[in-house]
Symmetry: C2
């Protein structure tokens, strides 16, 4: 539908636009965008036309409008193979979480280092030992590691994931992970929500 | 240790200070704080002395310093009994989550409406039917409801919790809940983290 070269350039446009957003730039012309990426203004207009009607006569493109649209396209067109590390309580729950799939995340493997857990079936997956991580990351094109091990094991697990070649880590352990720049990391922490709730309820109790 | 009337006033001080923080007020005198709450400046100084050394000669109190300290006391001194509604994957995982307890949240009951689930033991609790909710909220002084049912059931569960008398709801269902003003609500939503991660990884992939 959208030509492959255009899709490849999509992320370059998006990265460029994101930095313009940072600079608070309101509008941008196809020439400016082209110059920044070594493309002709004609190519830019041709590419962007695949994504929608964005050109404003005399203005060029509205930076935030275009950025928003490209983000949208970019997010939903991507499919990510993910692995869960730590087949415990929260790890097993996450394997059933449908919203992951709707966001394009497909859990294709689950790992653990506990002999009592390895080899068991959970949500249609057999739990694999950590030794199998590098091979499976390669074979199954795993890009995302979901870390659901205790805090004390989280850093070594993150290291193993990075060595195996993942590009992103979703961390559930309550500890700050040290990752190299090549890897993106996002943490999930309920305790902020809990503190907020405790605080609000406390204030409410006296009201 | 701290007199009961002082503890009761603690949240009034905190609420007043929070609005001063909002207004960017840097310092406040015991007289100002007293006037706002209908107390004498002497009472204010007496109360606050229980919480630490905060008075600065010629200044009064530093708003952010005092607020921070009261927030701390307020948060950690409180113990909240909580109920989990929805003994499914994430509900059962949460019942093992130690960090809840460290934040002062004690899960004292778990409920479900599925006959196959009711009566089972999970993490030391027997799953109760929804009919028992009002009685147990009262008997066990439950202040917080943790909602871990499917999106379609979340609002009716929230209603049941509010009717039963909880003061706060921690919502894991991916839907905005409509609650009355008397009830605080905080939502936990991983999909924001997922989108962020997908986006960062996408940008990284072209780098
Ligand atoms: N339980 C929850 O609801 C919840 C919620 C938010 C965050 N968390 C966090 O998620 C993590 C897991 O919590 P849980 O309740 O599922 O714990 P759990 O003990 O049930 O599961 C942890 C699993 O990790 C495995 N493991 C430990 N070290 C490992 C290693 N080096 N390599 C591979 N696997 C390893 C264990 O064998 C176990 O199966 C913790 O850091 C916890 O703080 C849990
Ligand atoms: N699984 C996860 O890791 C995860 C993560 C984040 C958010 N969530 C959200 O949490 C919710 C629960 O997810 P889950 O995977 O545990 O689902 P689940 O199907 O395993 O569990 C839901 C439970 O709720 C019970 N239930 C349904 N309607 C009820 C009602 N009216 N009253 C009382 N109990 C009722 C069911 O009988 C079931 O036991 C969903 O909204 C989901 O989107 C799940």
């Amino acid at each position: 539908r959208i030509p492959r070269p255009t899709v490849k350039r999509l992320s370059l446009y998006l990265r460029e636009l994101e930095s313009r957003v940072e600079l608070d730039q309101q509008t941008i012309s196809s020439k400016q965008l082209g110059d920044a990426l070594g493309l002709t203004d004609a190519q830019v207009r041709k590419d962007l036309a695949y994504f929608g009607q964005f050109g404003h006569p005399g203005i060029g493109y509205r930076v935030s409008e275009l950025t928003e649209r490209l983000r949208q396209i970019f997010g939903t067109d991507r499919k990510w193979n993910a692995a869960v590390i730590g087949a415990g309580n929260i790890g097993r729950a996450l394997m059933t979480y449908q919203r992951f799939r709707r966001k394009g995340f497909e859990i294709v493997a689950v790992f653990d280092n506990d002999a009592d857990v390895i080899g068991r079936m959970t949500s249609g997956h057999r739990v694999r030992p950590m030794e199998d991580l590098p091979d499976l990351v390669r074979e199954r094109d795993i890009k995302i590691g979901i870390v659901t091990v205790p805090a004390g094991a989280a850093q070594e697990v993150a290291d193993a994931l990075i060595d195996a070649g993942v590009l992103g880590i979703l961390n559930f352990a309550p500890i700050r992970l040290d990752v190299r720049d090549a890897v993106s990391i996002t943490s999930v922490d309920f305790s902020v929500s809990l503190e907020q709730l405790a605080f609000q309820v406390s204030l409410g109790l006296t009201g």
